[in-house]
Amino acid sequence: MSETWMIAGAWLSAGLTIAIFSFLYKDNPFFKIAEHLYLGAGMGWLFQVSVFSVWGPKIWTPVSHGDWLVIIPSLMGISLLTQFIPKLSWISRYGFTFIMGYGSGLAIPATLSTDFMSQILGTVQPLSLMASMSPFAIFNALLVAFGVICVLFYFFFSVEHKGHFQKVSNIGIYFLMVYFGAAFGNTVMARFSLLYGRFDSLYASSSARNFYATQIILAGMVIYFVLHSFFGKKGPAEGEAAH
């Protein structure tokens, strides 16, 4: 790739990143441009994925090799499009019915296995090594079992949570909150990692080799916002807020 294209890429990357980040200040034309570009690019990407990864290898290639059975699921898929023609929209029900039936058939056994059996086995199994477990490991296994029962009770809808039931349910909430706290911290760390990635990209675009793309775009946007705040028309919401 030529140097010119690399520099153009850096300007585009920095410009779109800063345009999206500008939403943190307020809605603005730069964000709108980036938003619509992102939307269009995303759909364009998905369209080509559908053509080259689904339609091509899963329909066109098998049919061209004489595998005519592929036409049956293809027709069911196409039947969904009849939703756009009111007179023919009843045909789409066959496709939808198949999707719902297939989805349920796939989900129910898997849910039974993962939500019931795995949960019970995962809670009970650690104690099968009780003879060789340390006191702390036994306490840990019992605590997990106690937590499972209390949390499940919180989600029990058939009885009113009053008296002793309320206490068990409340303990369940505490267990949930401990989990949510840990999940929150974990996810925030992951998000910071993404943020660092963008900052790293902006830093790379700010070099002299890229003609200070980050600094120039950032400065340009700041100037726009300053000028707009002085000379721009006040929107109805801003006008109301000023009163």
């Binding site: 938003e35 989805g103 056994p109 019970i120 009970v124 099968s128 009780m130 079992a145 989600f155």
Partner: protein, 423 residues
């Protein structure tokens, strides 16, 4: 002509040799029985692995009392009766005993007096065609020296229709179906009690507020397809929300991530407007498609929330990383936000950014709670039954397993763990 044939033969020979070497060959099996100096392993059998799709073989042979800790068994497989042998496994004589096979007691009678080994054929030969034949032989060695060898045996793969090893899952499913029909019958005759769910009482308040302020209501169904339970629950809640919106003559906007979910939701909303007696107020653009790309969907909906400043936003369904991106913008704009999701990782973000949050199972219960439909209430009762089964199983299971493990009652522990075996 002869020259061409000779070249062809030579090329074919090279390819054949290449294929054989690529398969990590071992010395070809002898066509004749093992020499007298090497003992024969008797009782070696190979058969199709029961209760599978037909892609594995089950090898069995008696444990040799003369085996020492240094004895190592090597298993070879081939598609040919002789030659082309590929090493399938190698293990110490103390491993792969009959009782080590990972199958429950009602489907497998493993003995400590025999070796049993499952060989996944697709690991060595790629996709296994139906009813294909494979050959196996084993050898044992002591400190690298060949001690005994079996004759090659043949087996044919076979797909099974019934997974007997999953019988416990089937029994549970049948019990749940029976309980469901009982619950439906009971709900229709006497009604079923469901405890109050706090977040759902706020729905009417949120819709009322939006009506007073003359602002739209946004309802997001998540980013999963129609087949997921959370999306199905979301469409049920949408039906009740849309009914109230129609009654209050407010306006609802439902930006969609999945076109199939959008089509279902269109029917749901239309039905709700009809049930509310306001079919004239229904508009086709209540539901609209945005994008099936996660973050461009989030960016676009964020833009809508910022520009239209809705009075109420509902997040019902499965959400991923876009959860906070969406909920934060709604909160910044002062909307009443009610969320419900079974995505555990995203719940903390909804807690921080929304006024009310339905946690996991509460989302599934919401549809039944709001509609009061006997069928949905029955489904909720069945879920409660399932939770009761889990609670009791865990409670009695840990007691039984702990006692069994402490008293060294291995059979009891084995039976209990097998009963809850998942796949």
């Amino acid at each position: 002509m002869i020259k061409n044939k000779a070249i062809c033969t030579l090329v074919l020979s090279i390819f054949t040799a290449g294929a054989v070497f690529a398969a990590k060959p071992v010395p070809a099996a002898k066509k004749t029985p093992p020499p007298a100096s090497v003992a024969a392993i008797s009782g070696f059998t190979a058969a199709d692995m029961p209760y599978d799709v037909g892609g594995a073989a089950l090898l069995r042979w008696p444990v040799n009392p003369a085996d020492t800790p240094d004895t190592v068994y090597t298993v070879y497989t081939s598609t040919l009766a002789s030659g082309g042998w590929v090493k399938a496994d190698e293990f110490a004589a103390s491993a792969n005993i009959g009782k080590d096979v990972d199958m429950p007691f009602w489907a497998w009678d493993g003995s400590a007096g025999e070796h049993a080994l499952k060989v996944e054929l697709n690991s060595f030969f790629g996709e296994v065609p139906p009813e294909a034949s494979y050959h196996f032989r084993i050898s044992s060695s002591e400190k690298g020296k060949l001690a005994a060898e079996s004759l090659p045996v043949e087996m044919t793969t076979k797909g099974n229709w019934f997974r007997l090893d999953r019988l416990n899952n089937l029994v549970l499913l049948v019990v749940i179906i029976i309980v469901f029909f009982w619950a439906v019958s009971h709900a229709k005759r006497k009604g079923l009690f469901i405890r109050r769910i706090a977040g759902l009482d706020a729905i009417e308040e949120a819709i009322g507020r939006a009506t007073e302020m003359g602002k739209p209501i946004f309802y997001l169904t998540g980013t999963q397809p129609m087949s997921t339970i959370s999306t199905i629950a979301s469409t049920l809640i949408l039906g009740e929300v849309a009914k109230k919106v129609a009654q209050y003559d407010s306006y609802i906007k439902i930006p969609h991530y999945d076109p199939i979910v959008m089509t279902v939701c269109k029917e749901v909303v239309k039905q709700s407007y009809m049930e509310a007696g306001r079919p004239d107020s229904y508009r086709e653009d209540h539901n609209f498609f945005v994008s099936q790309d996660q973050f461009s969907y989030a960016a676009s909906v964020d833009g809508m929330l910022e520009r239209e400043k809705p009075a109420a936003v509902f997040f019902m369904g499965y959400f991923s990383a876009e959860a906070l991106l969406l909920a934060e913008v709604g909160a910044t704009n002062g909307a009443i936000q009610i969320a419900g999701t079974d995505a555990e990782g995203q719940l903390p973000f909804f807690f921080t950014a929304c006024d009310y949050t339905l946690i996991g199972e509460e989302l599934y219960a919401a549809g039944a709670y709001l509609s009061g439909e006997p069928m949905l209430k029955s489904a909720l009762k069945v879920q409660d039954f399932g939770k009761l089964v889990v609670m009791l199983s865990v409670f009695f299971g840990i007691i039984a397993v702990a006692i069994g493990a402490k008293m060294h009652w291995d059979s009891l522990v084995h039976v209990i763990l097998n009963m809850f075996k998942a796949y």
